[in-house]
């Protein structure tokens, strides 16, 4: 088309006038200035990323020494941030144990003590608010959860014509969340608990979309935990303070249960509606319930095979 394009358009060859050069540099300079100004919000970034955190490997690939280093680094951070001497440890699953949870719907009175015990035990963010357990108030005569609500605020519970259905992570035997994670940041351990490596999760929220029980929560902002409510008894895969941008969920309080204790939600339930234990032990309370009560699971058609059973007494 034009001759100027047939030549070599080299800045080196072309004779540039001083005015031209000024104009061009003004554009480049102002362009660079606007680029840097555009990125200026980054100066407000708190909790910067350290090099060790960036290259940290997946939980399953960490050797014992690497794990110790990670725990030391995290404990230091927790101490700096929350002024608490945390007992952060990597609690391994016990052998010959598979956890199952049961809930007696004739006893649940919708008190939500479990919800807040869990929040307190597991260092969950208060602003934005994260709660692993959702208690649905359901009208009697239906299991259609669309007719239920989480937003009941009467003076006293239980209310007439209602029953209450607490839902949390069901630790499914066939978990859709584990299937969909693109980086294997979530997996199921041998004792049945589906765990998340908070330092591996990339925050794509595919697992949150996949869960049929709405059990997963995402940290949309930096979690805020009041200093006086920090629980120093922490597990690496469970209730240590999570960073922003990762997914979390109920983990059956594995820092407690893997040491033989009961989960926090169970201990707070005022009516004793919750039952937990090792299904592989035929003498356990949970074995008794599954053998003798008419238990059912939620959304059985989804094929998830939950380890959370419900029954009416």
């Amino acid at each position: 088309m034009s001759d100027s394009e047939k030549q070599e358009p080299g800045i080196l060859d072309e004779k540039v006038s001083r005015r031209d050069f000024l104009k061009r540099s003004a554009v480049v300079a102002s362009g660079a200035a606007s680029l840097i100004a555009a990125m200026s919000p980054l100066r407000l970034m708190e909790n910067g990323l350290s090099a060790e955190e960036f290259v940290q490997n997946h939980y399953k690939e960490l050797s014992k020494e690497e794990m110790d280093k990670v725990i030391a680094r995290l404990s230091k951070k927790i101490e700096e941030r929350y002024d608490v001497d945390a007992n952060l440890r990597d609690v391994k699953p016990m052998d010959g144990v598979e956890y199952v949870y049961a809930l007696n719907l004739s006893r649940c009175n919708g008190s939500r003590r479990c919800v807040h015990a869990c929040v307190n035990e597991n260092n969950q963010s208060r602003s934005p608010e994260i709660q692993y357990i959702s208690v649905l108030k359901m009208p009697k005569g239906t299991m259609d959860m669309e007719q239920g609500t989480r937003q009941y605020e009467p003076d006293e519970v239980p209310e007439d014509d209602s029953f209450y259905l607490p839902v949390q992570c069901q630790q499914c035997e066939n978990p859709p969340c584990v299937k969909v994670c693109p980086v294997e940041a979530t997996w199921q351990e041998k004792d049945g608990i589906t765990v998340i490596d908070y330092n591996w999760c990339i925050g794509c929220r595919y697992c949150e979309a996949a869960c049929p029980y709405w059990a997963r929560r995402f940290n949309f902002a930096e979690p805020e935990i009041p200093k006086d409510r920090v629980n120093p008894d922490m597990g690496y895969l469970s209730n240590r303070p999570r960073p922003k941008g990762v997914v979390e969920k109920c983990h059956f309080c594995l820092h407690r249960t893997r040491e033989g204790r009961l989960p926090a939600c169970l201990e707070a339930c005022p009516t004793g509606a919750r039952i937990f234990g090792n299904i592989l032990d035929p003498e356990s309370e949970i074995s008794f319930v599954l053998k003798n009560k008419r238990v059912f699971v939620l959304k059985e058609e989804a094929g998830t095979l939950p380890r959370f059973f419900y029954f009416f007494d």
């Binding site: 239920g148 969909v180 980086v183 959304k299």
Partner: protein
């Protein structure tokens, strides 16, 4: 010895320089797009600092405008295949000169897709976790891992095809068929696969009955093959007007045929879906009810989906009507198709999948200003990239940008 490398680097340098050259209109357009991209970057930096709480997404609707745009653009990228098939399989002459614009468009679309996925991540610094063998890549179980693979390979395929053909034209050499024809045929199948895998991302979720249906894959393909060629129709006219590059009206009318058929299939599949959701009155139809009719007083999306349907329907009628044999009406139909399918695929698909939540709760979604700015920024970046690619490729195709003999002679003289 490394003359080929030197030539290639010089070619890249010339491409770089030429993308900064043009008329006043060109500069205005590029500045406008750069400004929008910078605004988007600024908004994204705020998102990096404060987390995804600056968007309108919540635990209920955990995917929003970013994934909506991603889904739409994967379809657009796949639509390049609608230019490739007529030329390479049916040996159509009219489209021969414009295939490359479709493939360049695919490159820009895929880059936009990758950007949209990146801004959606809660921890983009952990991107390396997705790299096979370096991170932990959950392939073949996770559909998202499949998506990462197919999108990146499709990008590489198109970059190779376009890069090779353009460079050969620049050198004035005839391209070797073995180095591009197999890739072209692969890209035909691959284009369908990228959009099918994206559909499977949603279909494979048993807890989301709105998505868990076999019709999603076909709907995706049909709507992509309506919206993509529509966009190309408009782009070709812009190219024709601004650069004088020869594009015959027959090319546009062949694309019209393609959009016609795709749109009819799209509407037919929509009808199928509406019947399935509403006839049995089962509880699984709650999301569709929310989308089309509103649910329990929540009806933010109802005006959107009905306008989208009106646009798609009008586009279909217009395309079937002989009036669209006039470019003016064809353009109107294309615009209607593009916008209508964008709404249908974005707001009409992603958002209702989350409403009601698996526990029956309805929390509606509205994007925040920050989120919208990031989206605009990414779209502007894509357009910027596409303009640069066109700015480079059109002179090459016209023969105006060629390796000059003077230069080659100079080099050979020096090396002697």
């Amino acid at each position: 010895m490394f003359k080929w490398l030197r030539d290639y680097l010089y070619f890249l340098y010339r491409c770089f320089v030429i993308s900064f050259q043009g008329s006043g209109y060109f500069y205005t357009w590029m500045t406008f797009l750069t400004a929008l991209s910078l605004i988007g970057l600024n908004a994204y930096c705020k998102q990096l600092v404060y987390g995804l709480s600056v968007t309108g997404m919540t635990d209920h609707v955990s995917w929003g405008l970013y994934i909506a745009n991603f889904t739409y653009l994967v379809g657009m990228a796949a639509a390049a295949v609608m230019l490739v098939i007529p030329v390479y399989i049916y040996k159509n002459k009219n489209l021969g000169d414009v295939v490359i614009f479709g493939e360049l468009f695919a490159i820009a679309s895929i880059i936009m897709c990758l950007l949209f996925v990146t801004v959606d991540l809660g921890r983009p610094d952990r991107f390396w976790h997705l790299i096979p063998f370096i991170g932990k890549f959950h392939w073949p179980v996770s559909m998202l891992s499949w998506d990462v693979v197919v999108l990146n390979v499709y990008l590489l395929l198109n970059m190779h095809i376009c890069g090779y053909l353009l460079y050969m034209k620049y050198l004035g050499r005839k391209p070797a068929k073995i180095l591009y024809t197999p890739f072209i045929f692969l890209s035909i199948a691959w284009a369908v696969s990228i959009h099918t895998v994206t559909a499977f991302l949603l279909v494979g979720l048993g807890g989301r009955p709105f998505w868990n249906s076999a019709i999603l894959g076909p709907r995706f393909i049909a709507s992509a093959f309506a919206a993509g060629p529509a966009f190309i129709v408009l782009t070709l006219q812009v190219i024709r007007r601004l650069t004088g590059y020869k594009i015959s009206d027959d090319a546009l009318f062949l694309l019209r045929r393609i959009i016609q058929v795709a749109m009819v299939i799209n509407i037919f599949l929509l009808g199928n879906e509406v019947f399935k959701e509403f006839y049995t009155e089962s509880l699984h139809g709650a999301s569709a009810k929310y989308l089309f009719l509103g649910l329990h007083g929540h009806n933010n999306l109802v005006p959107w989906i009905w306008s989208a349907l009106a646009m798609n329907f009008t586009a279909m009628i217009l395309l079937m009507h002989p009036a669209s044999r006039k470019i003016k009406y064809l353009n109107i139909a294309c615009v209607l198709a593009i916008v209508g399918i964008w709404i249908e695929k974005g707001m009409g698909l992603i958002i209702p999948g989350f409403i009601p939540s698996p526990l029956g709760e309805i929390v509606e979604y509205s994007p925040t200003l920050n989120e919208i700015l990031v989206c605009i920024g990414i779209w502007a970046t894509g357009f910027l990239l596409y303009t640069i690619l066109l700015r480079i490729s059109i002179p090459i195709l016209k023969g105006n940008l060629q390796i000059s003999l003077k230069y080659t002679q100079r080099i050979t003289i020096k090396s002697e």
